[in-house]
């Protein structure tokens, strides 16, 4: 029997608001433990939450960008459970009336496009963190408590790890564009839960699903889907039934294990949050946010193809992140050679990023610096080869390309008199090569060019050098 995988995802995204969802504590990542706290996010007796309006704005923006309907009336609810990282012993979330409903986004895997439905998006608060490694036992860091989150729940529309990744990437891409989150996976700004079940290929009924929690990287997402789908197939082939359960992915071991069964599932006892009033959103508020939405990746890609005449592939790569797209557009504004810029951004920069383990947002090169470099190559001040060397230098030092060319003496030698003198000497010193050329072997030209480049430390303009070599050799041959 052939099986197919059915995947639905829940994506938690931390919103990039300056302050927390119910108090004015900062949301900044990486602060000293328990310094971004106040009586409200510490859940002390008698304190009350006040909903940060920015959270509503960001969630609305995210919902619109992901094609959702924004609810005119939604409310917050309490999700009750005991855990030391949850000071109030309930998470303020949204249960039956979320802020966004019913969106859809298009993903593409191996050239095949597919729509993935978004069931809902709701607002909630993040919990704190437990630090187990301490010598004092387990400690709690409450800094993250009350950092605003949206949870994006997809329809079970994906059928492979690659589609799950494509969905995750597309969501990240869109949210990053709208500026509601930095979506930094390594800081936990974006986390995936995967609901996975198997069914006979072509069947319409869903099989029993398992939920895998807190996959914190795309790599973990893919590996977890592979692992879990294989595990379920093996179980099914043995004639076992799949148990509905929550599983925990162990990224180090590359395996998942049961966290709790359906019977052990928490009864969260959701009920409306009495300390907050319902969220009422007027139509013109939604219209205003919609109008202010930035150009989204799909539209941008199409525009790059139309306006800059870039191939679809280039346009796709350049619009994959807002940072790259912004860099590209700024560069094109300074120097109208879109394809050139695209080539350098797509071909030359990624290996350097990889080598230095950097990402676009923290490189020392500005669009101005890149376009200056491209201009130096274009007007033959330096060769393309030197250009790559300069780029590398710019990467590590952050210096201007002009300065690097000067400091390293990389400017091409296009001064023919100086070059002629050097070439005369080389030709004179290599009579054998002149003889070979005379005998009809063009190979010797290559040798002579190599000698010239060596003598000029690569600064000779190869085309100019070639012409002079031909002239001087001709003169010698008489």
């Amino acid at each position: 029997m052939e099986y197919e995988i059915v995947i639905g995802m829940e994506i938690h995204v931390e919103l990039g608001t300056k302050s927390k969802i119910f108090c004015s504590c900062p949301t900044e990542f990486g602060a000293e433990e328990n310094t971004h706290t106040c009586p409200v996010c510490l859940g002390m007796p008698g304190v009350l939450p006040v909903l940060n309006e920015k959270v509503v704005e960001y969630a609305t923006r995210a919902g619109l960008a992901l094609g959702c309907e924004i609810a005119h009336y939604s409310k917050m609810d309490r999700k009750n459970y005991f855990y030391p990282d949850l000071p109030k012993a309930y998470q303020t979330s949204q249960f039956d009336l979320p802020i966004c409903n019913g969106g859809v986004i298009e993903i593409e895997v191996d050239g095949i496009k597919k729509d993935v439905g978004i069931t809902r998006i709701h607002i909630e608060e993040d919990a704190g963190k437990l630090l187990h490694e301490s010598v004092d036992g387990t400690l709690v860091d409450v800094n993250r408590c009350g950092v605003p989150l949206i949870e994006i729940v997809s329809e079970p529309d994906m059928s492979s790890a690659e589609e799950a990744r494509a969905f995750g990437e597309k969501v990240r891409n869109i949210l990053e564009y709208t500026g509601v989150s930095d979506c930094k996976m390594q800081e936990g700004s974006m986390r995936f839960d995967v609901n996975l079940s198997m069914r006979e290929k072509g069947a319409t009924v869903l099989g029993t699903r398992t939920e895998m929690k807190n996959l914190n990287s795309f790599r973990a997402l893919i590996r977890a889907v592979h692992y879990e789908s294989k595990r379920q197939i093996i179980e099914l082939k043995k004639g076992h039934v799949i148990t509905q359960e929550t599983r925990k992915w162990d990224d180090t071991k590359g395996t998942s294990s049961s966290l709790r069964s359906k019977e052990e599932a928490h009864d969260y006892r959701y009920f409306p949050e009495p300390d907050l009033v319902p969220i009422v959103i007027e139509a013109d508020y939604i219209a205003k946010i919609k109008a202010a939405l930035p150009e989204l990746p799909e539209a941008k890609k199409q525009r790059y193809m139309d306006e800059y005449k870039l191939p679809e592939y280039d346009a796709g790569v350049l619009t994959a992140t807002g940072i790259l797209a912004n860099f590209f557009e700024e560069a094109v504004g300074l120097y109208n050679e879109p394809k050139q810029i695209s080539n350098w951004l797509m071909v030359e920069i990624p290996p350097l990023l990889k080598e230095k383990e950097l990402c676009m947002e923290n490189i020392s090169i500005t669009p101005l610096m890149l376009t200056e470099l491209l201009k130096l190559v274009k007007d033959d001040t330096i060769s393309g080869t030197s250009g790559k060397e300069v780029l590398k230098e710019m990467f590590s030092t952050g210096k201007n390309p002009g300065d690097i060319v000067k400091d390293k003496g990389l400017a091409q030698m296009s001064d023919t008199t100086e070059l002629e003198a050097i070439i005369e000497k080389i030709v004179a010193a290599n009579p054998k090569s002149v003889e070979d050329i005379g005998a009809g072997s063009d190979k010797a030209y290559g040798f002579l060019t190599g000698q010239v480049m060596k003598a000029t430390k690569g600064q000779a303009n190869p085309q100019v050098a070639n012409e002079i070599i031909r002239a001087v050799v001709a003169k010698h041959l008489g």
Partner: protein, 490 residues
């Protein structure tokens, strides 16, 4: 007459005329506390030194100026579920035996700004759950009219402080009658304002959608003065109403001519003590003499109010009290084995019986499979009761009811029968469910000499009408001159 026996407005007059100093006033109340507190146990903690130090500061300020605000220099008490920065706030629970909040309740901040003199924190039923103040983890407060009787609850300490002249006024909280019922039992004025009128910030939550802070005072005029100080929008409380400031003393003494006073059979049902009924009938007669129009009104769903109340309030409480887990502050069990055991032992040992009963009731009402039958149904009843009141207030301006079916009962009399205890709130809980204001004022004494309270209710934000009606009654009768006989007994 001792200074401590006077009202806020009388003391304010004396201070204005510079006939007394705040220090003298404060000292008089401290002397009174020394004399009677040992019998009443109204306070969990008294802070005489801090009160006198504060009195001195206010005296110094007043020397230089003519104007004085109504609550300036007036000593008062706060129920121990109102957070006071740097001052122990226990909610009369072992769970918070050592809890010193690093912030103030909004109302306390307002009273600090007014120049009030905090005398101490008053006793209460643990986490405001109870109707007799017997559920305090620390002490049982006694009714100053009869020390063998309960003062009512949950704000029993606040009621007794005012009734026994150990505070000019006090603040309590009212979730289902916790201000009005003890006010009635102790023969003082107690008001629960409209939900959202007074900020709940810093009031340790029992049932968030029902809790409201309000005053206990010796007369109606004082009630209006305290209301003036504590009412107002607070951005820290999302349920706080955005309204313009009102002067509740304005037109207070205008009378009730033409006022339509509703009387509903639903409030005069089974279990009503005959003397309470008689006293209410007398009150109706007084209002007729004063020119009010008495209107018969009826309710459809009031019978379900008490059940709905205990489901909603317990459900919210089960969630509100979940934070007391022994992890970050307050009581933690000494010995435990792992996290779940820490939770279990801390909560088993830290909470009293009534609190645990309500947490279990509320947890059950919200549980999967029971939610629809209990919590959801109760919320539907809540809507119907609101509509009931809306309907009633189309044909009358205020509603006159007994505050509680009986006068104060004996200490220990109902502790083993929670249901009977819950029934003492039968006339007060519908008010919280509907979110409307209610005031309880004394209207007579029963044969045993215990005070009887009557309750005036009105639509949302009708506090002025209620105060006006209450003042007219108080002014017409000599009720306010009746004093708890405590002074004679000690």
């Amino acid at each position: 007459m001792e200074l401590s026996q006077k009202t806020i407005h009388e003391i304010n007059e004396l201070l204005k005329k510079k006939e007394v100093t705040v220090t003298e006033v404060t000292q008089s109340v401290i002397n009174r506390i020394d004399a009677v507190e040992g019998s009443t146990d109204a306070y969990l903690r008294v802070q005489p030194e801090q009160a006198l130090a504060m009195a001195k500061i206010v005296d110094d300020k007043l020397k230089a100026r003519k104007k004085i605000s109504p609550l300036e220099g007036i000593p008062y008490g706060l129920k121990d579920n109102l957070c006071t920065k740097g001052i122990l706030t226990t909610c009369a629970s072992k769970m918070l035996y050592n809890f010193v909040p690093p912030y103030n309740a909004h109302v306390y901040n307002l009273l600090i700004e007014e120049g009030g003199i905090l005398l101490g924190k008053t006793n209460m039923d643990e986490f405001a759950m109870g109707s007799s103040t017997e559920n305090s983890a620390y002490k049982v407060t006694k009714n100053p009219w009869d020390l063998n009787k309960v003062p009512g609850g949950s704000s029993g300490g606040s009621a007794v402080a005012v009734a026994s002249d150990t505070a000019y006024y006090s603040l309590g909280s009212d979730t289902g009658g916790s201000i009005r019922q003890p006010a009635s039992f102790c023969g003082v004025v107690g008001m629960k304002p409209t939900y959202g009128l007074v900020s709940r910030y810093g009031l340790v939550a029992f049932a968030s959608s029902l809790d409201q802070i309000g005053p206990f005072t010796k007369d109606v005029e004082d009630c209006a003065l305290v209301l003036n100080a504590i009412v107002g929008h607070d951005e820290k409380d999302s349920t706080s109403l955005k309204l313009e400031k009102k002067d509740y003393t304005k037109n207070l003494k205008q009378g009730v001519k033409g006022l339509r006073i509703g009387v509903a059979q639903a409030f005069f049902g089974e279990g009503l003590q005959p003397e309470v009924r008689k006293s209410l009938e007398d009150a109706i007669a007084v209002y007729k003499i004063l020119g009010a129009e008495i209107v018969d009104v009826s309710f459809q769903y009031l019978d379900y109010a008490l059940s709905a109340y205990y489901l909603i309030s317990s459900a919210e409480a089960s969630s509100n009290l979940a934070r007391y887990d022994g992890i970050r502050y307050g009581f933690r069990a000494e010995e435990y084995d792992g996290l779940v055991d820490l939770y279990r032992k801390t909560r088993s040992q830290g909470f009293g019986e009534e609190v645990k009963r309500r947490i279990m009731l509320g947890t059950h009402a919200l549980s999967s499979g029971y939610y629809d039958a209990y919590y959801k149904k109760a919320m539907q009843v809540r809507t119907l009761i609101k509509e009931d009141f809306d309907q009633v207030f189309k044909s009358c301006d205020v509603l006159l009811t007994p505050t509680s079916p009986t006068t104060a009962f004996g200490i220990g009399e109902k502790t083993n029968n929670p249901l009977e205890m819950y029934l003492t709130d039968i006339y007060t809980v519908p008010v919280n469910i509907a979110g409307i204001p209610g005031i309880s004022i004394p209207c007579g004494l029963d044969q045993a000499g215990m005070p009887i309270g009557m309750q005036l209710l009105g639509p949302a934000l009708s506090e002025k009408a209620l105060l006006k009606a209450a003042w007219a009654f108080e002014n017409e009768t000599n009720i306010k001159n009746l004093k708890a006989p405590l002074g004679k007994e000690v």
